[in-house]
């Protein structure tokens, strides 16, 4: 290697090392377990949060951990978190918010439930629970950090069923307009997650493992989590993430040795083993047969009612009704849909031809992700 080239390589290395060294990582980790009897105790969140805090410290984060937090404590923690984010060098701070505990969606807002929330009426939710978009996310965005990461292991169930029947489905909803942010959920929007029978909830258990793998981009970490959670839950829990980030982020960069593993969950519980057995009911769906069935859904000579029945049958080929589907125009993704939304659309379209461009199957043959063209 000539001298100028060697010099350039050294210079680039120096600059990138310097950039990493200058990056400040700040995290707020909350785990709420000790809820009242009415709301329902959760065995895992405090363990989840404690293990997550240790894992994040190994990844270079300055961590603020609170467990079994009241509303006032959560508000105060968010304020301190904002101060720390704002104190860092502009555009060189990565903020991470992790929450494990009860959560729910109400009027297009995701709420985290403090341990002292005594919700009796629907109106109480906005007063007694912590809004993610309005408080956590907006504070993180105001702080001018390079990247904001929000991880919500909170879609367990609706903790106030008696007072909030009108909320409909449980779980958290997807956040729109999370600019410059990566938001990860334990389940797809509007569905509920497994608490797990071990030390950690299933989602955090797998997240801790994936975060520990060196050289994985944040997108790869959460894909690894989705694959493993889907497998271990017997294809019942489909994790979700949405990203508006442009830069790269590694919990552990590739050239570093993996730190000591700090949290490993107990062996798979019997419930998971049962699901594994259930999963043996394999689905055999080839690309060609699926194309035919999807195309037939648009066939106007078949009565609409029969096509509706066929639609329900095809939906069972997917791991979950909200499995990701991409409609393509040439090499570009035109739209991002869920499986059930795609099928609802197909039965209303004029006669069309469906061509599958990519398909990802689970171990049992069910469809995890699908890309197709509609012509």
């Amino acid at each position: 290697m000539s001298f100028p080239r060697t010099f350039l390589v050294v210079l680039v290395l120096l600059i990138s090392t310097n950039a990493l060294a200058q990056e400040k990582r700040v995290a707020l980790v909350i785990g709420n377990s000790k809820y009242s009897k009415e709301v329902g105790m959760l065995p895992n969140p405090v363990n989840d949060a404690t293990d997550m805090a240790s894992q994040l410290k190994n990844s270079g984060f300055e961590v603020q951990l609170i467990t079994d937090a009241t509303y006032a404590q959560m508000r105060e923690a968010v304020k301190q978190f904002y101060d720390k984010l704002s104190a860092g060098p502009k555009d060189q701070v990565v903020g991470l918010f992790y929450y494990a505990g009860h959560g729910l969606q109400y009027q297009n807002e995701n709420y985290l439930v403090p341990v002292d929330a005594a919700v009796q009426y629907e109106d109480d939710i906005a007063r007694l629970c912590l809004p993610v978009q309005r408080v956590v996310l907006s504070n993180m965005q105001r702080a001018n950090s390079r990247m904001n990461i929000i991880i919500l292991d909170a879609c367990r169930n609706n903790p106030f069923p008696a007072t909030t029947r009108a909320l409909g489905n449980g779980g958290l909803g997807e956040m729109a307009d999370a600019r410059g942010s990566f938001v990860a959920y334990a389940t797809a929007p509007g569905s509920v997650a497994s608490d797990g029978a071990g030390k950690n909830g299933l989602y955090t258990q797998e997240l801790l493992k994936a975060m520990n793998m060196p050289g994985l981009l944040i997108e790869q970490v959460f894909k690894e989590v989705r694959r493993n959670v889907l497998h271990l839950s017997g294809e019942k829990q489909y994790t979700w993430d949405s990203s508006n980030i442009l830069g790269d982020f590694y919990f552990i960069p590739g050239n570093q040795p993996a730190p000591v593993v700090i949290a490993r969950a107990d062996p798979p519980p019997s419930a998971i083993a049962k699901n594994e057995a259930k999963r043996e009911m394999n689905v055999v769906v080839t690309k060609e047969s699926l194309e035919k069935e999807l195309t037939a859904l648009t066939n106007q000579s078949i009565p609409f009612k029969d096509r509706q029945v066929a639609k329900e049958r095809v939906l069972k080929y997917f791991v979950v009704p909200y499995a990701k589907v991409y409609t393509m125009i040439g090499p570009r993704i035109d739209e991002r849909l869920t499986a059930s939304k795609l099928l609802d659309r197909l039965v209303t379209l004029p006669e069309s031809t469906i061509t599958i461009t990519a398909i990802e199957n689970s171990d049992s043959g069910r469809i995890v992700e699908l890309s197709l063209e509609i012509e």
């Binding site: 981009l217 997108e219 790869q220 959460f222 894909k223 993430d241 949405s242 990203s243 508006n244 980030i245 442009l246 009565p303 609409f304 009612k305 509706q308 991409y326 125009i329 040439g330 570009r332 993704i333 035109d334 739209e335 991002r336 609802d344 659309r345 039965v347 209303t348 379209l349 004029p350």
Partner: protein, 197 residues
């Protein structure tokens, strides 16, 4: 004269700053065109289907939801016009109301067809980093209060302009973050309504 030239110059400056003149890459331009046309064609299909009382009611109702999803949001307005004794009346309706009323027209038969291909303006990049275009559709409406008659009780020809907005968004596909350009319909305005000769 000099003042007029100066004013024109200011107007030119203002308009060029409102919409950037940066040329879009050919492949993106082509994609925008295909994506917008696909959505407008779907709208035309749903308008015809929702109005068609000979079709399955479940299909017509499902089509209302599908049609609404083509729009940026349900607050967007659809202008509808009618001609009576040579006088044009124009009314604005929120999108879902428009489709609900189209479904429920009290007539024996409603035929809505499109007599010309969709026309599309160039896609422009706005100062808000969104892309904008306008699509034109040409609609023939015939309403029969007596299904046995071949002569419609009401008919008109309307040209409508549809605002299109593309707000870039990102998603994770596999291990990569990909930028999406979802085209959404906005307000639909009547440009011209004529009674057929």
């Amino acid at each position: 004269m000099r003042r007029i030239i100066f004013l024109n110059f200011i107007l030119l400056l203002l308009s060029s700053s409102a919409f950037a003149q940066t040329e879009l890459p050919e492949d993106l331009k082509e994609y925008f065109k295909k994506s917008i046309l696909a959505k407008v064609k779907r709208l035309e299909h749903y308008i015809t289907l929702i109005a068609d009382k000979s079709k399955d009611e479940g299909l017509r109702k499902s089509s209302i939801n599908q049609a609404v999803e083509l729009f940026e949001d349900e607050n967007k307005k659809v202008q509808i016009s009618s001609m009576k004794n040579g006088v044009q009346t124009v009314v604005d309706r929120p999108v879902r109301t428009y489709f609900d009323r189209l479904y429920a027209i009290t007539a024996d038969r409603v035929d809505i067809t499109f007599y010309e291909v969709i026309q599309l303006t160039d896609v422009r990049l706005g100062p808000d980093k969104r892309y904008y275009a306008t699509a034109y559709i040409f609609q023939d409406t015939k309403i029969y209060y007596n299904s046995h008659s071949d002569i419609p009780d009401y008919s008109d020809r309307t040209e409508k302009a549809i605002d299109i907005t593309i707000k870039p968004d990102t998603t994770i596909v596999g291990d990569k973050t990909v930028v999406l350009y979802p085209a959404k319909l906005g307000n639909i305005n009547v440009k011209e309504t004529k009674s057929p000769k």
